[in-house]
Symmetry: C2
Subunit: 333 residues, 2 copies
């Protein structure tokens, strides 16, 4: 979908966190991260070459990816000059901003005049079928969370990286805007019309080699009442063979829902498995991924050991301790 | 949303079944069914006065509801003359057809020229929030099915009718096109964007009197992999106090999914209750609604008795034997 490699636009990012989309590309698809384009005042740095649009074009970049949020939802004059210059030079633009590129009249006009494409990856670009539930060849792994934003995307990307390093056939399948920008394609599932959610997931994870694994990016949580329907569409459209449970153990309540406590990993395991086995009776829960960033190393290791003991499953923090244990757990499925 | 009462357009319906949307209005909102408009060759009859557009207008009708499917998805010249005449006279048009009214250039032009509205009830007309999961006042009952199209809408409408006859406060809340045309408002949930599904259900079933019941129209099934996400959004957005299990006991496989068997009522009860209690810990399953149309009366009664015995819950076919037992079961909630 997106032409690669990218020139990563950091604009005037006030800090490193503001450039987390660009950082995601740098971390997970370094081969796409040809260079960074920073404006005066930028306080983020990806540790890759600073290139202007001309130099990056000559080096092969074909899409300028906006890897930072626009402050206040507006495109500043400095941003806009830079983006229009890129369109004139031949780049497509891609962004996952709330403010759509296509809704800016200047960007739209420049893209039309020069025959470039504006990719607002929050919006679906494909037409999806109604799910048919037919069993597909190949294998699929889905990360499901006790809550939103507990590290499901990171878990799937970290597993993909380990699997590729081992020579296994593995493809991360993006279902959210960051994942789509990182990998260049996917389905922005939360923007798909209800009837087509599960079909979009089937479309995203088609039949494949028997030893190929799709690592499907999870969304929401079965226990998060705002988004649970999206999560179930992933489970039923993805018909996973393996589930990874994801948790952040220090969160006081469900994200954005102060009256809702997080479920236990056991409750998540039982509910996710009951639902997953409707689409794939042989589905198994194979491991646990814990985001331990709020714990010191000793506490993190103690927590992981306790989880392993309680659930009888391998548990790791893939960011801190690697995803190897989760990949090992796919053996024999 | 829709102006009432209606003139029900049956067109050249080839048989009674083709007019089932109009029949739904006639059955469930007889006060909206002012008259029927039939073209030569029509073989459906609602048993209400045949009125032309002028007579119905003079009697108070303000929306012409297309209560029949258009053959081949096209508006024939005879239909179109009739629909444009209605627009000229002052009617809005409403339909739930695959072919949208708004996509027909002649109908669009006539509506614009005369200031009328075209309601394609397959498409959302409102903007919905993200669900916030906050507990609302009032009570809610949701029908959940072992499969799609097992009688969930009928069950909710039949319960509403009994409750109103008893002087209870009860409102059917439509979530599909037929329900919306029947009652004049609602949310076409399968056409809502994924992120807003549960929020649309919250919007549809707002806080109310403590003794008021919303009877929420169910959609899909937790066990139907094509649509289960929509069902879960209904359960989590609706935060029901009471669930009714709906079944059609003679179906060989899930609708449209030949490889999927229907679940048992016990499996549906367990799964639906586990999920519903995330949003409403005091939710209970109160009864079973069985579509027994494929069984003779003795077999139907034997089946219902067996279900009551197995599940320890009242079971009825609300179409055949009335919805009283299901309404009785709401007592004390």
């Amino acid at each position: 979908m997106l032409k690669t490699p990218y020139l990563l636009f950091l604009g005037d990012a006030p800090d490193q966190l503001a450039a987390k989309v660009a950082q995601g590309v740098r971390d997970w698809r370094p081969e796409f991260a040809l260079g960074q384009l920073r404006l005066p005042g930028c306080r983020a740095d990806l540790g890759i070459p600073d290139l202007d649009a001309e130099a990056a074009w000559n080096a092969g970049a074909r899409t300028l990816v906006i890897g930072v949020a626009n402050r206040g939802g507006v495109f500043s004059p400095a941003w806009k000059a830079c983006l229009i210059d890129a369109l004139v030079r031949g780049y497509d633009l891609a962004a996952g901003l709330h403010t759509l590129l296509r809704d800016d009249p200047d960007l739209s006009a420049a893209a039309a005049a020069h025959g470039r494409r504006l990719f607002d990856v929050r919006l679906p670009v494909d037409t999806y079928p109604i799910a048919d539930g037919v069993k597909r060849s190949g294998k699929r792994c889905l990360a499901v969370g006790t809550d939103c934003s507990v590290g499901k995307m990171y878990t799937a990307l970290a597993m993909e990286k380990v699997m590729r390093a081992r020579g296994m056939k593995a493809t991360f399948r993006a279902t959210g805007q960051t994942g789509i920008l990182v990998t260049g394609s996917g389905v922005p599932l939360d923007a798909v019309v209800a009837d087509f959610m599960a079909g979009a997931v089937e479309w995203l994870t088609p039949g494949n080699d028997p030893d190929h694994w799709d690592l499907i990016e999870g969304q929401g949580s079965l226990f998060h009442v705002s988004y649970s329907g999206v999560t179930l569409a992933l489970i039923h459209g993805g018909q996973p063979d393996a589930l990874i449970l994801c948790d952040e153990p220090t969160r006081p309540h469900m994200r954005g829902l102060p009256d809702y406590k997080l479920p236990s990993l056991e409750a998540l395991q039982d509910l996710a498995l009951s639902l997953a086995r409707i689409a794939n009776p042989s589905c198994r829960v194979v491991g646990v991924s814990v985001n331990t960033q709020a714990l010191d190393e000793a506490a993190a290791k103690a927590h992981l050991a306790a989880v392993e003991d309680r659930l009888g499953l391998p548990a790791t923090d893939p960011f801190r301790f690697g995803a190897e244990a989760l990949v090992d757990a796919l053996d024999g499925i």
